[in-house]
Symmetry: C2
């Protein structure tokens, strides 16, 4: 007889059925009630034993974190909150767990701080919070692939190792085969890259966009979903050195199409989690409500986690230009009262405080800001007719900040070459990118979604290190 997953058992099994369940003990109360969880759902199944019918030596080993197999009959639950429980006929200890050691780790029932759990990243999967977070992270992963597959997009695995550094999105990690104790040098004392694995300097990608454009200009609609890297010494709750990014790229799309796609995509993801992860979401919703209560009233989010997802799913995103945003900000109270730390003037980049004002005070909904000054955006963004701005867009979410950045791309060879010159990019470095404008160039557009930002939004977790299994930050690469 095969064992049944607890999720399936709670959803479809019927009273009177004989079942086998395998999982980990979450609690053992009154020498009678074993709470078992197997990771398939946040819900435990309660297994009820008649103490006197079992070998005491075995019962002693039923303790928090131990692994057990129970066999029995499904009966109607006497307790509240669950419909069925197991009347146990047979119990087997698969793996013990020393209660004293368990006390010191993640798996004791008492709540640990998230910071403590980060150092126990190998065990934190076993907690309710992280179980829910990583099930929802999977749900978002699958929803992303399903969204694009259903629309006829092709997933493209763009390279992780790259000799291209034109993207300019941030500092890059170097990858080498050299023994760092003894880096080969040329006669004039420079690194002799001809002796390295790839015969030249190679870095970890910061974005697959430029390569994705090549795919889009042949396959029509593509998307990447892979790891990207930043060697930036940012020890904040919003930055990781290794994170995952989704970058769709679409031939024949302009900036408006790009905004429509982004909005449809983010609404789809929100709906998907609401529809498919109700139990995990409810748990995280309650957790978030507790967290909100602990804050000063003015910092509390008036919406619950579930309401925030519903809000994104059901409301149009506000779309404004950068120029309009600057005007709103300069007319705002905090500007007039000099409460902003950074100045607001046409041409400067918006800071987090400005974005938060627009999203959380002015509009109170997701906002798409478009048409930024060319100087503060990347070389590949399409120049608008005004000669000053480019067809860029940033999507800002309440409580998260920038979640998506994108643009229509410059498809005109002459303009693109001029931009390369303006940005000091050697045409020889990007010969392959320029080639794509030589052979049947077409308007196209795309965007990048920082995956962990989306997981934060969908789970209510406020530190990005708590939504990726093994976070990499300055000084941290354990496991």
């Amino acid at each position: 007889m095969k064992h049944t997953k607890i999720k399936a058992l709670l959803e479809t099994s019927e009273v009177g059925e004989k079942v086998i369940v395998k999982g980990w003990v979450r609690a053992f109360r009154s020498n009678r009630f074993i709470q078992i969880n197997d990771g398939s759902t946040i819900n435990n199944i309660q297994a009820v034993i008649e103490y006197e019918n079992f070998d005491e030596a075995i019962l002693k080993k039923i303790s928090t974190a131990a692994a057990v197999e129970v066999q029995g009959t499904l009966i109607e639950s006497q307790g509240k909150g669950q419909s069925v429980e197991i009347a146990v006929e047979n119990v087997q200890i698969l793996g013990e767990a020393n209660p004293d050691e368990v006390q010191k780790t993640v798996m004791q029932p008492k709540k640990h701080s998230l910071e403590f759990l980060r150092e126990q990243a190998h065990l934190r999967f076993r907690t309710n919070t992280f179980g829910a977070v990583f099930r929802i992270r999977h749900g978002l992963t699958f929803a992303i692939h399903k969204f694009f597959n259903d629309k006829g997009y092709y997933n493209l695995h763009t390279p992780i190792l790259t000799s291209s550094d034109a993207e300019g999105a941030g500092e890059m990690f170097h990858v080498t085969n050299f023994d760092l104790n003894n880096v080969p040098k040329t006669e004039d004392g420079k690194v002799d890259y001809s002796k390295d694995f790839f015969d030249k300097p190679v870095n970890l990608t910061v974005s697959g966009q430029l390569e994705a454009e090549l795919g889009a200009l042949a396959l029509g609609q593509v998307y990447t979903f892979g790891p990207t890297f930043r060697a930036e010494n940012s020890n904040t709750s919003r930055h990781l050195a290794e994170f995952w990014m989704i970058e769709p790229e679409v031939a024949f799309n302009d900036l408006k199409d790009n905004m429509d796609l982004t909005e449809e995509f983010l609404k789809y993801l929100s709906n998907y989690i609401l529809d498919h992860y109700a139990d995990d979401l409810q748990f995280l919703n309650d957790r978030d409500a507790q967290e909100q209560k602990a804050k000063p009233e003015k910092d509390r989010n008036p919406l619950t986690l579930i309401e925030r997802l519903q809000f994104v799913a059901n409301n149009d995103f506000k779309r404004i230009t950068y120029t309009e945003a600057i005007e709103i900000l300069r007319n705002s109270k905090p500007f007039k009262k000099k409460k902003f730390k950074y100045d607001v003037d046409w041409g400067v980049d918006l800071h987090s405080e400005h974005e938060r004002y627009l999203v959380e005070k002015e509009f109170n909904c997701p906002v798409i800001i478009t048409d930024y000054p060319a100087e503060i955006k990347a070389f590949y963004m399409r120049q608008n007719d005004d000669g000053k701005t480019v067809a860029a867009m940033d999507v800002l979410f309440p409580g998260i900040g920038e979640i998506v950045g994108g643009s229509q791309r410059e498809e005109r060879m002459d303009v693109l070459k001029k931009k390369c010159a303006d940005f000091n990019i050697d045409e020889k470095e990007v010969w392959w990118y320029l080639d794509s404008r030589k052979f049947g160039t077409v308007p196209h557009a795309g965007f990048g979604l920082g995956f962990e930002r989306m997981v934060m939004f969908a789970t209510g977790m406020t530190n990005i290190r708590d939504v990726i299994p093994f976070p990499r930050t300055p000084g941290n690469a354990d496991f």
Copy 2:
């Protein structure tokens, strides 16, 4: 009016409909017939123009690789092979393509060698062959996520950057933030890693398995799907420095469950491509047939590409132990006639020539070999009761060789610690892995599928560099 994708148009549009199509010219014949492809399918749509109704200056620009937008009415096709074509009312050139330059590149109709196209990796997406390969690569990607999602597995993003090097699967690339011209040294002349980004040596992962086990021992069933790396100087048609791997890991599974899962999985993927990518597959099937014809008769595959996929989908995999495999090989003609280059004796690893004999001569079907000698397999594989072998499995495919490697994992702490000692692995290095055996350890098993090997099998491509968008090999990291 929105434009229609050619795939949708060929599948669902009806004669008489007004349509707009955007795409790239594949050919322009008799000043009348434009073959347009937009990447959504391998099939072109034929657009028919009445030459005399259009501006000659525009028509001159309709040439191979140019991008066009045509507007017109769908009519029944006069030619063979396609059901509909477009009677063009309006044509617009979106992007020109200089015919002389096109002659030198990938996009001219004449066939280029695959080797030439590898150097044009930025343009090869536009050929029929690579269009089909990368659509099928996407199809396999989606099928993998769907297979596991439908079964209640959770996708786990295991780390790319890791300070762990216990897996022992191969040479690793180093990742650093140092300027290699000037690596900081300590007083005794060693690399001063305390000054590097992560405060210690960090490498690119060779496998996510050890971390996936941690996930499985909490969430029950997980899988990874991400890039992995080998810094091995192998210039072969079967090796890449950067490739993608799928690694499921399942709590409570033993070796037999693991074999069953692998077989079900590979059958599902084969069926998925047969069911969803018939046009691309037919094209590659014909391409493969041509390639087979060019070979000496004895080297030809008696099955077509489609037949090979059907064969895997419909036939049981042969399961034998390593010990049985050795016996078969020692009784084989090539062994007796001393035709094998490498010796066959219990305890030695099987070489490609031996695996090919078993798969292609002896059984002529996929073969799973199990229970290898402990010495030639990794430290984490579960020790069998005979004390000599471990619960390992390798899946071998005709024409591909090893496509999957897996095992039941050693869940017993005392045995695992002894294996660490035997393999010279410092327990301190893998403290987190050992911890997972301390708190409710359970039997579990998993495997790794080299994604590109599967794409090769499903497309008939014989060089691994032709199934990944931007191949990384010694000396090659362009784009």
